[in-house]
């Protein structure tokens, strides 16, 4: 088992910012492990502009934003990037096992930063009843399908949830010629940015139903329609308020959850509600020498905030290592 100074798991904006900041604070040997075939994480599929206004004082797309960091990381001789490297095991003593094509590797780190991002909440987590046909996608997956692969999942869509990802996907689908029938939101207001409600829905004439929920998904093989019902302030269905929308696609955008299975495996104390670590301050976990940052620590709205806080994580790890 090889000894390493600092191992960072996840090569999204959080992992990259942490790596660069740790280097600036004196770390000599940083190993950055990324499961995908490139750095950048979720940013690679966010091809819309709106990134970097704080950090770079200009408006970039997600891939442009990621690329700025990826280039710095690539040029840094003190950072070893290992792509297609999937971490499967972490112990509280900071032993890490990862798989990559051709090998199972094991390293022991003096400090670890987890920057594994988050996953989407699914249809199942909000238990939408009905059948289980093709055409029900998490919105982030749909974003990847459209933006990374150039595939169009359907022709008529209903979107569940009015957070930013839902709003941005409503517009994205509309731009691809998909008829977006509605965005259905169970709350009274949108969690998304006001500018997104305006630019993504109003400008495209897409109706937004507040205090409504999907009460049933219909269709044997492919989605055929959804039943929608209005709810009261206690989220109870209002009788006789139901209606149906025909569609072949339902995109689910009902929030994100930190992806922290490794931290849990190592035995860190977890908050069962948020799936983030229980921590007295940002980026800490209950395990000494193991840090978490970016969306793995808590769900952030803006990539710039991820970058800012993840730099703190890099510096905290350096401090833990007795540098500077």
């Amino acid at each position: 088992m090889r000894d390493r100074e600092l191992v960072i798991v996840g090569g999204g904006p959080a992992g990259m910012a942490a790596a660069l900041a740790a280097r600036a604070a004196g770390a000599q040997d940083v190993l950055l492990l990324e499961r995908d075939q490139h750095l950048g994480g979720i940013l690679n599929q966010c091809i819309h502009p709106g990134f970097g206004l704080h950090h770079f004082k200009e408006e970039l797309t997600g891939p442009e934003y990621a690329d700025r960091f990826a280039r710095q990381v690539a040029e840094d001789p003190g950072i070893e990037v290992s792509l297609r490297s999937f971490v499967v095991k972490l112990t509280k003593d900071r032993e890490i096992s990862f798989l990559r094509p051709g090998a199972l590797e094991e390293v022991k780190a003096r400090a670890v930063i987890l920057a594994t991002g988050c996953r989407e909440r699914t249809r199942e987590m909000i238990a939408i009843p009905g059948s289980r046909p093709a055409g029900v996608y998490p919105a982030g997956l749909a974003q990847k399908i459209v933006n990374m692969e150039g595939w169009i999942p359907g022709r008529e869509a209903v979107i569940v949830g009015s957070g930013d990802i839902g709003l941005i996907m409503a517009r994205r689908m509309a731009l691809e010629g998909v008829s977006v029938k509605a965005v259905v939101e169970i709350q009274k207001t949108s969690r998304g940015l006001v500018r997104n409600v305006v630019q993504c829905l109003e400008d495209f004439g897409i109706p937004l139903y507040f205090q409504h929920r999907i009460s049933m998904i219909h269709g044997r093989d492919r989605v055929e329609k959804v039943s929608v019902v209005k709810v009261d302030d206690e989220f109870r269905d209002i009788p006789a308020s139901g209606f149906e929308l025909s569609c072949d696609t339902v995109l689910i955008s009902v929030g994100l959850i930190p992806e922290n299975e490794l931290l849990e495996m190592a035995g860190a104390e977890m908050d069962r509600k948020t799936n983030g670590p229980v921590a007295p301050e940002v980026n800490l976990t209950s395990l000494p020498g193991i840090f978490a940052c970016g969306n793995a620590f808590k769900v952030y709205d803006l990539a710039d905030s991820v970058t800012r806080d993840s730099e703190l994580a890099g510096r905290a790890a350096a401090r833990y290592l007795g540098l500077k």
Partner: protein, 476 residues
């Protein structure tokens, strides 16, 4: 094209029959209307290898269940490389007054030959099942119950039957059956006609329709819906055994189920429906299942749920319908295979072979019957050190596609080589997309591997067969 036996349906019943008959020198054909085997009732059930208790000793399903359980434990699991976990079960009571009921179930089970039954008290339960709620007073321990992956069981049976010379045609619905004057049938399916001496009907929910087509409208199938809710694997150790309440007239009740992949499951409901296609889950079903499960283990939370589904039990009265139909000579029904059909399948297969023999089919053993089926490699089932050896031999086992369930690109390719043609087929064989993110991260990668291996454009790939296309258009 002429066969000795045509089997309608590639669920667990048809698959087990095909595998059993493939021991003999027979020309066999299995016809399945869905895109892959196991896409009917056999994919949507609790996956329990029942011990045989909770059945009347006078019933066919009672003794077929005990015998199926024995065959699986003693032969098939090993031969077919199946992951059968004999975790045992508990039937719990909430009221001391129900103790005589447990005694009755114990006596009936023993009459059927179920071994090791034992009444256990609250102290035993506290020591062995610490998460049980305060309402539970005592239980009957049934050690021979186990769990299995239902679809992987079917795939193993089918693969082994094919290896032994049986033929399978999928996406091939039987639409007509004509009696041949001098014996046998012409079976119309998927635009072809197949002549056969014997017709075995294992068509699940549609078995009444097939029997009627063949000239024996002797029973009717009523679907009985069961909703099931899968929990996050983090809750794996919430129970060490499968936990049952006392059975009702129509079902075994809401259970706490272990699954062979680790995720616990709660369910199933049991409600009759008219619609053989109604696989919708409901708000009411979820509430019923949660309430039932919490009575036994109170700490279940709605947020533990990561997946759910409904299955329809093909019910034709109280018992299985397994018989030769004298009004349609040559037709053998293996119908009304409600629970415990998954468990009973190996024994049903032997029984069907006997019936065929009695009605003139000569069963001459093959010189070489391939009894064994190699166990496919799954990273999630093996320790890391074994993964290392696998990856060193074939680098693609280290190329992880599904991060929640640890599935490599090579396992996806293996699944396709073994017959998967749909996204669900890949999921059932490998578990890719079956975890907590539901394919959020891996679906595009799997679709690309499927494109490569199958040579289809992405717009032709489906979730579970024609009509369930996943991608409507492609921007070039």
């Amino acid at each position: 094209m002429s066969y000795d036996v045509v089997i309608v349906g590639a669920g667990v019943t048809g698959a087990a029959i095909a595998r059993e008959l493939s021991r003999y020198r027979l020309k066999l054909l299995v016809l399945e209307k869905e895109a892959e085997p196991a896409f009917g009732v056999s994919k949507s059930n609790s996956g329990i290898i029942h011990a045989g208790t909770q059945n009347s000793p006078a019933s066919l399903k009672g003794w077929l269940c005990v015998e199926g359980n024995r065959l699986l434990r003693e032969e098939l699991a090993e031969d077919l490389g199946l992951n059968l976990v004999q975790c045992g079960q508990l039937i719990v009571i909430f009221d001391e007054a129900d103790l005589p009921e447990l005694d009755r179930i114990k006596a009936e089970g023993e009459a059927l030959g179920v071994k090791g039954l034992q009444l256990v008290d609250r102290a035993w339960l506290d020591a062995n099942e610490p998460n049980l709620g305060p309402e539970v007073k005592a239980a009957l321990l049934v050690p021979s119950a186990g769990i299995i992956s239902p679809y992987r069981f079917v795939y193993a049976l089918v693969e082994n039957a094919l290896k032994n010379g049986a033929e399978l045609k999928t996406s091939c619905r039987v639409t007509g059956v004509t009696r041949i004057e001098k014996g046998g049938f012409y079976v119309e399916a998927g635009g072809q006609v197949y002549a056969t001496r014997f017709l075995v009907n294992a068509a699940g929910l549609r078995a009444d329709e097939i029997s009627a087509l063949a000239g024996a409208p002797t029973f009717r199938i009523t679907p009985r819906k069961g909703e099931e809710y899968l929990l996050d694997r983090k809750r794996e150790h919430i129970a060490n055994r499968i936990i049952f309440p006392l059975p009702s007239k129509t079902s075994k009740g809401i259970l706490i189920i272990k699954t062979s992949d680790g995720n616990p499951m709660i369910g199933p409901t049991a409600h009759d429906t008219e619609d053989k296609e109604d696989l919708a889950t409901t708000d009411a079903g979820l509430a019923e299942v949660l309430a039932g499960a919490r009575r036994m283990i109170p700490s279940f939370e709605k947020s533990d749920i990561i997946a759910y589904f409904a299955g329809l039990r093909p019910v034709a009265g109280k018992d299985f319908v397994i018989r030769h139909e004298d009004s349609a000579p040559g037709l053998v029904n293996a119908a009304g295979i409600q629970s415990p059909g998954l468990t009973s399948a190996p024994a049903i297969a032997v029984m069907v072979a006997d019936i065929l023999k009695k009605h003139g089919l000569e069963l001459r053993p093959k010189e070489q019957f391939h009894r064994l089926r190699p166990r496919p490699a799954h990273l999630f089932q093996i320790p890391l050190e074994e993964s290392r050896r696998l990856i060193e031999k074939n680098p693609a086992y280290g190329d992880i596609v599904c991060r929640c369930e640890l599935v490599s690109a090579q396992e996806v390719r293996d699944a396709i080589k073994r017959g998967a043609v749909t996204l669900d087929g890949v999921k059932f064989r490998t578990r890719a997309q079956a975890g907590r993110c539901h394919g959020g991260f891996c679906t595009t990668r799997i679709l690309k591997i499927m494109q490569e291996e199958l040579g289809f454009p992405v717009t032709a790939l489906t979730k579970r067969g024609p009509g369930s296309e996943l991608i409507k258009d492609e921007r070039k």
